[in-house]
């Protein structure tokens, strides 16, 4: 009866991704709650020519762009906040290797919302009148751009507004704090646009920091903003957003944020980073060893740890999760 959707990360990437696909992720905090470990696996499996749909670019698109795996991207925000410009993304954009279509942080959730509702377009009352509307990286010769946010007339007022194209990405890899084995998910911290994205994407893979017993889900159904019925698969991966933060779970790893961004500034640095931190582990255990158990313990001592307290009693141990995965595969 309890159908488990838990699968290994490598299996999720093999099953649900392909070269040239429209891949959505990084949809949460600008530099946190990012399913970057899924992006690392995309590189490990040599995926190319990705069309990235990222509300905020995060370190994941910084890495994918820096490594040359993404040739198109649509973003609302494409930097690392106080950690600075995203060097890998910058290199890809400035060299022309990746065409980056600019939107805003409201435009992206609205375009997901339109995709989720299967609307033909979404009225745009922001982004109009600026170069976000007038300039298109995907259609560079179309100036002022008529295909990106075309002008339409409000049939009620007669006022001229814009029309956003909607987004229905082939896949969304969504980071959550807690999920059960069927994909019912709880996010601590702001959702950003994970709610809308989970309904817009053709398929959803959940990347969860921790797996909880279904009792947790039934205790807090109001907080389950992504229900199992729209989830294809669940990947359990502790510290999945590292070096970024996951509210309640762990803080940002400041040292690695800088190290990573510095490495991504050059092709050689990126190659070294990929060798060390993308190819440098085989499974969650060796991934955690690579980061360093002491460092993980420090990151887990976050001032937000109390946010996790109501849920702790339901968090399953690695052995329990392993047992459930095996049963899921057998079924």
């Amino acid at each position: 009866m309890t159908h488990s959707k838990l699968i290994p990360l490598a299996e999720a990437v093999r099953r649900y991704t392909w070269d040239g696909m429209q891949y959505a992720s990084g949809a949460a905090l600008p530099i946190g709650s990012d399913a970057i470990v899924f992006g690392r696996e995309l590189l490990r499996q040599g995926r190319r020519d990705l069309h990235a749909v990222f509300h905020c670019s995060s370190q994941q698109l910084n890495l994918l762009a820096g490594a040359g795996a993404a040739t198109k991207a649509e973003c609302g925000f494409s930097a690392l906040e106080v950690f600075g410009f995203a060097n890998g993304l910058r290199r890809a954009v400035e060299s022309g290797a990746m065409a980056l279509e600019d939107y805003s942080n409201l435009a992206m959730p609205l375009r997901y919302l339109g995709g989720a509702l299967n609307w033909p377009f979404v009225p745009a009352t922001t982004n109009i009148g600026s170069d976000i509307q007038h300039r298109s990286a995907f259609a560079p010769h179309d100036t002022p751009a008529r295909t990106k946010i075309p002008t339409v007339t409000d049939p009620f007022s007669g006022r001229e507004i814009g029309a956003y194209s909607v987004l229905q990405p082939d896949l969304a890899a969504i980071h959550v704090t807690l999920a059960d084995i069927r994909g019912n998910s709880i996010m601590l911290g702001t959702e950003w646009s994970r709610f809308e994205l989970s309904r817009a994407a053709k398929k959803v893979v959940i990347i969860a920091d921790a797996i909880v017993d279904s009792g947790c889900i039934r205790q807090f159904p109001n907080l389950v903003r992504i229900p199992d019925i729209i989830v294809e698969a669940v990947v359990h991966w502790p510290y999945a957003a590292w070096p970024q933060s996951s509210p309640g779970m762990y803080d940002v790893d400041e040292e690695h944020m800088h190290l990573m961004n510095k490495a991504l500034a050059t092709r050689e640095g990126t190659d070294r980073y990929v060798a060390d931190f993308v190819e440098g582990y085989d499974d969650p255990d060796s991934y955690l060893d690579l980061i360093g158990r002491d460092r993980l313990a420090t990151l887990a001592k976050t001032e937000t740890a109390f946010l996790l307290d109501p849920y702790r009693q339901w968090i399953l141990s690695p052995d329990q999760v392993a047992g459930l995965s095996a049963r899921g595969v057998a079924a």
Partner: protein
């Protein structure tokens, strides 16, 4: 990093900019702050004269005050530690900002022009030209600033005062100010009124009531009309009633330094 010295009587240009920006925020307002310096300015206002400011971030963190210094990101753990509600970007930037409900937003700029248009997208060598081309230096993009610039009743732009940042016309409008000036915004029916001030490291610029061209409103005690004009990339007009901005009070500095616990505003300038 040594701990900030709260007894120091002097202050940095960045601190003056943050305090002058914070003075633009009134108690009880619904306000949205971007990451970095604008957040410190906003939370300074809350700590000093606007305890009931209703502050939010663009991803939907409500009721929070930063703990442990400048947050790394707008929803980072330093803000998530004491929030009263977590929602979403559609909620904060859409329902509360683009709708026209938000009173004031603070945004940053890499480049700003005489009509308060903001570029945070890229630096090109000269004009972009007829066809779009990648920038020589790619910047972060609009983020939520475009939505704030369109929707908030008024905005305050915070920017370091350097000639290269104060352009006659920005190369790329990431977030609209008054576009070509006068009533150009009306074409788009934005609920927001546009930028009320550009607060810099040297002084404050405000728009002319009709032309909407930004002119010098006031200068900081360590600056001057000449220095500001020399650092502005257009022929900056000086308002007839231009004046000097009062220096920070001890109470203002103390409040700012409580918010800026890690001394981010004291590292330079």
């Amino acid at each position: 990093m040594s701990a900030p010295d709260f007894t120091r009587p002097d202050f940095t240009r960045q601190e003056m900019m943050a305090i002058a920006t914070g003075r633009e925020i009134r108690d009880g307002e619904l306000a949205i702050f971007g990451v970095g310096l604008s957040m410190l300015a906003g939370y300074f206002a809350q700590a000093h004269h606007a305890p009931n400011v209703r502050a939010m971030t663009e991803g939907g963190v409500y009721g929070a005050t930063p703990v442990g210094g400048l947050p790394w990101g707008i929803e980072c753990n330093r803000l998530s530690v004491n929030a009263t509600s977590f929602t979403s970007a559609l909620d904060a930037l859409g329902f509360l900002v683009a709708s026209g409900r938000c009173d004031v937003g603070i945004i940053g700029a890499a480049q700003v022009d005489r009509f308060g248009n903001v570029n945070t997208t890229g630096i090109w060598d000269g004009e972009i030209g007829e066809s779009y081309r990648p920038p020589k230096t790619r910047l972060p993009g609009a983020g939520g600033a475009n939505d704030i610039a369109c929707g908030a009743k008024r905005t305050v732009i915070m920017v370091t005062h350097e000639p290269k940042r104060f352009a006659e016309k920005v190369t790329y409008i990431s977030s609209p100010g008054y576009l070509e000036g006068a009533n150009a915004r009306e074409r788009y029916g934005f609920p927001g009124g546009g930028p009320a001030a550009i607060v810099t490291t040297l002084g404050i610029l405000r728009p002319h009531v009709e032309t909407k061209e930004f002119q010098l409103d006031s200068w900081f005690s360590f600056s001057s009309v000449e220095e500001i004009r020399a650092n502005t990339g257009w022929d900056l007009k000086v308002a007839p009633d231009a004046h000097v901005v009062p220096e920070p009070t001890q109470a203002e500095l103390a409040a700012l330094r409580r918010v800026d616990q890690t001394g981010a505003l004291r590292k330079k300038g």
